[in-house]
């Protein structure tokens, strides 16, 4: 098989790479684009470690062929926040100690960002459903939920002022 050109926008940057038709978006982001924050925990769409935002929607990038991202914007953990400023979700995960080994965290914070973009004020149940596809073995999820709720509360307070 011969490689084919793939043009996509990764974290706002136009990106051109040659990829094999069988390569996943996960593999190309990690191996060709250098976005190693995107983690492979299973390769079968079960763990959520490779979650990225494709065209505004969260996807497990291990189940997306790279060429499906043709001409589309991709946002990875490296693209969260604004320059040196972290995304409020990233800040909250640190403040709440919502991370231990850290392997699942890039996927988790991307998923939480996608949740809040779509549903700015989720209740606990909505947070838990949204995060149910992101497995974490260290935290037991309590501090994840508290961190996300904290971001929601801060955003709500800001809106009321």
């Amino acid at each position: 098989m011969s490689k084919q050109p793939l043009e996509m926008t990764v974290n706002g940057e136009p990106t051109e790479v040659l990829v094999q038709p069988y390569q996943t978006l996960l593999e190309v982001l990690r191996e060709e684009v250098g976005m190693t924050g995107v983690k492979e925990g299973c390769g079968t769409g079960d763990c959520g470690c490779c979650t990225v935002i494709l065209d505004g929607k969260p996807v497990t990038s291990c189940l997306v062929l790279a060429l499906q991202a043709q001409s589309r914007p991709v946002r990875t953990v490296e693209g969260l926040g604004d320059g040196d400023a972290l995304d409020p979700i990233q800040e909250a995960f640190i403040r709440h100690g919502a991370l231990q080994c850290g392997f699942c965290i890039p996927g988790a914070v991307v998923m939480a960002r996608a949740l809040l973009d779509a549903t700015p004020r989720p209740n606990e149940d909505e947070i838990r459903w949204a995060m149910a596809g992101n497995l974490c073995r260290c935290t037991g999820y309590t501090k994840w939920v508290e961190a996300i709720q904290d971001v929601v509360d801060q955003t709500t307070e800001g809106a009321m002022k």
């Binding site: 079968t44 763990c47 640190i94 392997f103 149910a132 999820y141």
Partner: protein, 754 residues
């Protein structure tokens, strides 16, 4: 005092920013120049003779640089004594997924393709999968000859104790070791009992569940020195083991420990590193080997299976009379597992005047085991805490009252005759009894409240650390301990407290095996307890040196000096002071007259500080579907002293959920032929965010006389009572016993129909 400011603070993790931005680097993220990618051919059978292997087509594939089978490797034994030595199968495979051949290629896809081109002829042999069948005469033998038990991993946990009997008889058997703890006369004890409860408990193999699949890179340099990039819990221990397995001196091996994406006991033994070293040796290029999740589920090192037949008795007034148990542990195809821990926990948590606990280790044709957070303790605790509930019910005594009457306190004898050290079991039980889940429980159909308590004896191991002052007066703590859970942040707090500095002035670095002071494996809840003590001692030494330099500068006795606000000052005076940055620069600059500040701390703690955790669950059970829902959950734990409460809570919550997973959903399921049936995380069901409520945490602090600032090990205890608490809650909701974990919906529905 500054000390009390640092200890007990909810300091953010120093590596938090790296981890939330994706900058933390794990082995799979590393690329070295010229690096090749490896794949393994694994046996589809649990037990088979290898008749032939043909690698010609694989070798001929473009991009393939090396293909190895057992006959290409020197030093391989037909009957290896440990899993790490079973690098590639020699003539016979003994578990599904055992590596038979290895390929290194330019990219991972080529390596995969080459694996598919290798042809193997097998003579499939009968496999023994069930440990009870493995005990029977005539069962297929897992090993052709008896070999010595491998206890290196138990030693890494600091948990090996007296009572183990190694088996080296002449009769062919799958039994590899036995333990036996005995006290008094159990038959007389049962005769004196008013209530005797007898049940058999079962917990199958579970996977430790770390999110990062195993990965390694091996590379040789021009001086024939071998470097590994590892995801491992202990860099010095993995170096020792690799030195043994590969026959290379430790001085010729260097370990770079990368970020580790979870280990929970599984990432102590080097099961993939040796083959990477061979491939790298042959190709003279760096070789990366990353397992797929499927490989990691099929053929890594799960926790052992346990069958526990337990009989216990008590008098009407709640006095225990005796416990008798037969514990069968199946560690898979290589010996070595936490049999003694499970047996000790059955006999040790409560004051049984008479006990007789026998443990038997028996091999099967399944992947060999590794530790899983408090290895063996959750197994034994599940059995004895189920028994305690059953006896309390039969006696009509409150479950807490019954436990409080019988729980051990300092000085009570353990099953092997040693006295219990200082511990907080009773305080944990008392705090649990006050928790709202228990106090506010109300009777409702299909709802129940259950709880359990369990513990970990505590690991011990010598450790050293150093504290170096930088020219700008900041300080750097250097240890060899792998940070799994935020221990480097706690080291920062310990050093800050000892030095009297703000934590921000201190960084913590994990060195590699060439540069770091010695530390044991991050396992057995001994990082803060042991290495933390070394950090404290090193910080005290650095402080002494700082005060020594300041005493010359200030012309005052060191005893009259104190460190505060980045300065050393004469106590009680504001004007006579010298800044730490001055001391840093004066002790490092060209022509300087002071020796650089370099604090050293070495400790060998030999006293254990057991940690206890108790957990309460309120559950509801759907009688139609059998689904168990957790409505409320709390973890109460004696941590001695919480150096960083946020990090301690994280340990308590994460450990609790692992215990809940063992209770409700997790089990590696093998076919009769020994093939793993649930090969993905969809089928091997771990707890997700939607399966759980918030885990409430209650920190109890009964200070350790030995740990830094009174701290005890925190990591192991919270996994211990989870499965038992869930089982007791489901029992309360359904009036049915569930001695066979996990309590899956089908088992619940079946039980409710009886």
């Amino acid at each position: 005092m500054t000390e009390t400011l640092a200890i007990g603070q909810r300091l953010d993790r120093a590596d938090g920013r790296d981890k939330v931005t994706g900058h933390a680097t794990y082995v799979a993220d590393v690329k070295l120049p010229g690096m090749l990618h490896a794949k393994l051919l694994r046996s589809p059978h649990a037990h088979a003779r290898i008749l032939s292997i043909n690698v010609e087509r694989a070798r001929a594939l473009a991009g393939v640089r090396c293909v190895l089978t057992a006959k290409d490797l020197d030093r391989l034994e037909r009957e290896p004594s440990s899993r790490a030595r079973a690098i590639l199968a020699v003539d016979r495979v003994r578990y599904h997924g055992q590596p038979i051949a290895a390929v290194a290629a330019d990219d991972v896809h080529t390596a995969e393709e080459a694996i598919d081109l290798i042809e193997v002829e097998y003579d499939v042999l009968p496999a023994v999968v069930d440990p009870l069948q493995s005990l029977e005469d005539g069962a297929p033998l897992v090993r052709e000859q008896a070999t010595e038990t491998d206890d290196s991993e138990a030693l890494a946990h600091g948990s090996v104790t007296a009572g183990e009997v190694k088996v080296a008889g002449n009769k062919p058997t799958n039994v590899t070791s036995r333990v036996h703890y005995h006290r008094g006369d159990v038959e007389a004890g049962f005769a004196a009992a008013d209530v005797v409860v007898e049940k058999t408990y079962h917990i199958g193999h579970v996977h430790q569940g770390y999110m990062e699949p195993r990965a390694t890179i091996a590379t040789w340099d021009a001086q024939d020195r071998l470097t590994f990039y590892v995801s491992a819990q202990g860099q010095f221990s993995i170096r020792s083991e690799l030195s043994n397995v590969l026959g290379i001196p430790e001085s010729k091996i260097k370990i770079f420990a990368m970020e580790i994406g979870g280990g929970f006991g599984a990432k102590i033994q080097p099961i993939i590193e040796p083959i990477a070293a061979y491939l790298a040796k042959r190709t003279r290029r760096p070789v990366k080997l990353v397992l797929t999740r499927g490989e990691d589920l099929i053929a890594a090192t799960p926790a052992p299976e346990f069958i526990m037949e337990v009989k216990s008795g008590a008098k009407k007034d709640g006095t225990l009379t005796a416990v008798k148990a037969r514990v069968i542990m199946d560690p898979g195809c290589f010996p070595g597992g936490p049999l003694n821990n499970a047996c000790l926990l059955i006999g040790c948590l409560y004051r049984f005047p008479n006990l007789d606990v026998e443990g038997i280790e028996v091999l099967t044709h399944k992947p060999s085991q590794a530790a899983y957070r408090a290895p063996g303790a959750h197994h034994g605790t599940f059995a004895i805490e189920s028994q305690m509930d059953a006896m309390a019910r039969a006696l009509g005594i409150d479950r807490f009252e019954f436990r409080l009457k019988n729980c051990i306190v300092e000085g009570d004898l353990m099953a092997h005759g040693e006295p219990w050290p200082n511990n907080g079991m009773k305080q944990v039980l008392q705090a649990m009894a006050e928790h709202p889940i228990w106090k506010n429980r109300a009777s409702a159909p299909n709802r129940g409240v259950g709880f359990a308590v369990g513990g970990w004896l505590g690991g011990i191991q010598p450790a050293s650390a150093s504290v170096r002052m930088n020219p700008d007066g900041s300080l750097c703590v250097i240890t060899g301990a792998i940070d799994l859970t935020g221990t480097n942040t706690a080291f920062r707090q310990i050093a800050a407290a000892e030095l009297g500095l703000p934590a921000e002035d201190i960084t913590v670095q994990t060195g590699d095996t060439d540069s770091a002071p010695y530390a044991g494996t991050s396992a057995g809840s001994k990082v803060i307890y042991a290495v933390g003590g070394a950090v404290q001692a090193a910080a005290a030494d650095a402080r002494r040196q700082i005060l020594e330099i300041a005493s010359h500068e200030l012309e005052a006795s060191p005893a009259d000096l104190e460190i505060s606000d980045g300065k050393v000052r004469v106590k009680g005076t504001a004007e006579r002071s010298v800044s730490l940055s001055h001391i840093g620069s004066a002790s490092t600059r060209y022509g300087g007259k002071y020796e650089p500040v370099f604090g050293r701390g070495s400790v060998a703690v030999t006293q254990r500080s057991p940690g206890f955790s108790g957990q309460l669950a309120e559950v509801s059970v759907d009688p139609d579907t059998g689904k168990v829902s957790i409505l409320q959950y709390a973890c109460v734990q004696d941590v001695g002293k919480a150096i960083n409460p946020t990090l301690v809570e994280g340990q308590m919550q994460g450990g609790s959920v692992q215990g809940i997973g063992m209770g409700l959903s997790e089990e590696l399921v093998y076919s009769k032929e020994g093939r793993l049936l649930n090969q993905s995380l969809l089928d091997y069901r771990k707890m997700t965010a939607i399966d759980l409520p918030k885990i409430d945490t209650v920190i109890v602090e009964v200070p350790s006389p030995f740990g830094p600032f009174g701290a005890k090990g925190v990591g192991e205890p919270p996994i211990v009572p989870g499965a038992a608490a869930i089982a007791n809650a489901v029992r309360d909701a359904t009036n049915r016993d569930f001695p066979d974990l996990p309590i899956t919906p089908d088992k619940v529905v079946r039980a409710l129909r009886q």
